[in-house]
């Protein structure tokens, strides 16, 4: 790809990208657990301007979540241990899925569970909803006692869960969301891709702890939490690039990249590293409308670089 440096403010740029057979008008996606179920962002931005929307993790039964404190701020980041608090799949399908009709945006539903059967039951119910474009398999939540991250750290379990869920998702896209808290993330990514993952999502939060030195106790009721925000961005960029080179590119599977994105240049770094689409999580708490500003920033960058399509930028790291 020949990148010419030549400002052309009138250059028409194409921001669309494809996640398998789902096409997005641009690469910006809301990260699971940071943007609600469907319409919670309405007062801040037009959801139709987003490439896609990923919901909060949904489980088979409603979950109350952990005791408080559930979050604590750190330098350039935050820890959370929400504990997958959610309304459960029945209520989600009854109350939230119909709301999706109001938008043109593709919706991906993030699913979680404590056993493979729970994942399967949720996936099966959601796969019957016409409006849902795909499922994001959360095998990487650090904040629940069983399941979650233990699935995501064992390649054999990742194979099993991906294979089984793939059988029930029918025509939906299956995204597998990886935890960064492993020795070799590519081994996990490979397991998911070989068993039918249509896309990979990385990274989830890093397991971490903050201690209150006055009480000598952890600040979070759950003791540990997941680190997100700008603090994790350079590690996330590195991991996206590693998985892109070692697994995703050879297999032709797209990556949804994220971790600490706040600005257009952050998002562009992820795309250059190999991400087809990017997620905004913690950055949206700081500026609820930052996704919209990032879309504009990517356009400006492409014009400045004289690149006509964002797709050309994916994995362009030299």
């Amino acid at each position: 790809m020949g990148i010419k440096k030549n400002n052309d403010i009138n250059l028409s740029v194409n921001l669309s990208v494809n996640l398998g057979k789902v096409s997005l008008i641009n690469p910006l996606i809301t990260a699971s657990g940071t943007c609600g179920y469907v319409d919670e962002l309405d007062d801040f931005l037009d959801i139709n301007q987003l490439g896609a929307f990923i919901t909060k993790s949904i489980t088979i039964k409603p979950r109350l979540g952990n005791d408080v404190p559930r979050i604590v701020e750190t330098d350039s980041g935050m820890l959370n241990a929400i504990g997958l608090a959610n309304i459960g799949v029945e209520k989600f399908i009854q109350e939230k899925v119909p709301m999706m009709e109001r938008y043109k945006t593709p919706f991906f539903v993030n699913i979680a569970g404590q056993t493979i059967d729970e994942y399967l039951a949720v996936a099966d119910k959601l796969s019957q909803c016409r409006r849902i474009a795909g499922l994001e398999l959360n095998i990487s939540c650090p904040n629940v006692k069983q399941g979650g991250i233990t699935f995501g750290t064992d390649p054999a379990l990742v194979r099993q869960i991906t294979t089984e869920v793939k059988k029930v998702v029918r025509d939906k896209i299956l995204v597998v969301k990886l935890t960064p808290s492993v020795t070799d993330i590519s081994a996990i990514a490979r397991a998911a891709v070989e068993c039918g993952a249509d896309a990979l999502s990385l990274v989830n939060t890093f397991t971490a702890m903050v201690i209150d030195i006055e009480t000598q106790k952890p600040v979070l009721a759950n003791r540990t939490g997941g680190l997100s925000g700008p603090a994790i961005k350079p590690i996330a960029v590195y991991l996206v690039n590693k998985v892109y080179n070692e697994v995703a590119k050879p297999a032709g599977v797209p990556i949804i990249g994220g971790g600490g994105i706040r600005t257009a240049s952050d998002a562009i770094e992820f795309i250059i590293a190999g991400a087809t689409a990017v997620t905004i999580g913690t950055g949206g708490f700081i500026n609820p409308d930052c996704a919209v500003k990032i879309i504009q920033g990517i356009k400006d960058y492409l014009r400045r670089q004289n690149i006509t399509a964002v797709a050309e930028l994916i994995g362009s790291l030299k």
């Binding site: 657990g33 940071t34 943007c35 609600g36 319409d39 919670e40 962002l41 309405d42 007062d43 801040f44 037009d46 959801i47 139709n48 909060k56 109350l64 979540g65 005791d67 408080v68 404190p69 559930r70 979050i71 604590v72 701020e73 330098d75 350039s76 980041g77 935050m78 959370n80 929400i82 608090a85 109001r102 938008y103 925000g229 700008p230 913690t282 949206g284 708490f285 700081i286 500026n287 609820p288 409308d289």
Partner: protein, 314 residues
Amino acid sequence: MTDSPPKKGVFNATVLMNRSLGDKFCRLTLELEKKANIPFSHASAGQFIEIDISKLALPAEKLIPQHLSDSAQRDIILRRPFSFADIDCNNDTTVVEILYCVLGPATLRMKTLKIGDSVNFIGPLGNGFKIPENRKLALLVAGGMGAPPLIHLAKVLKKQCPDTELIAFVGAKALAGLAFFDIETSKLKKETDIALGEFSRLNIKTFISTDDGSAGVKGFVSESFKNWLTKNKPDDKDTIVYACGPEAMLSATAAISSQFKLPCQVSLERRMACGTGLCQSCAVKCRDKANGNTIYKLCCKDGPVFWSDEVVWE
């Protein structure tokens, strides 16, 4: 997409004043940009805003209190929640008052805001105090930093319910902790019913208590509230209680109110990441009135004001 005008949003404001009240407290007066006028003309006492403090500098080193010199070095990324102490919507101009206590890296940075500076915030957020009709008596119970939303509520009640009598119970650790009420604390006399600036201007009878007895009676504000109820036995159908302050004080106030069968609304605080119902970090354990089950509500979205009998106090 909804067609109704947004109820909340991200806005800018200009600092009109940022003045110290004693050594730990400050009053920040903000004029909001015009497009915030409509959402804020409907805002109620007890709602709050989330201020972006991440771009503010620290005060000069010699102005940083010794006990904060270490934690002051921490960076801020998350916005911080603050209640309104007043909202004034007049001729197309909205002026909001914030009373804040300097506790850590964010509130320390806020002290450097100067007249004319720009502040970015999200709001108005949450649900404020509900004002039921036909209450002859409203009892305000404020502990420590809990004063700001009750100062706002008192002003609103005076305007909306001129026939309702207001009585305030105000507590703090010590005399200096009463500075939110705009008083010359050095001039405060040791009497039980001296008026505090903010409340005396509104003619609200006020009972003060401090943990160390340095102003008003010695003891907790919940005790002085209870003593008053025991003596005066207000009619439960005519009376309502509003409380804001530390959780232990709210829990005591809730228990006393229920003992006297008085309806009571409390304003709670939680650590918040988003303030807008997105992250579920601000959970408040509640009882589902329909079936008695334990549920979590969100402080930022369902609250911060709750009926005291729906909260599970621990």
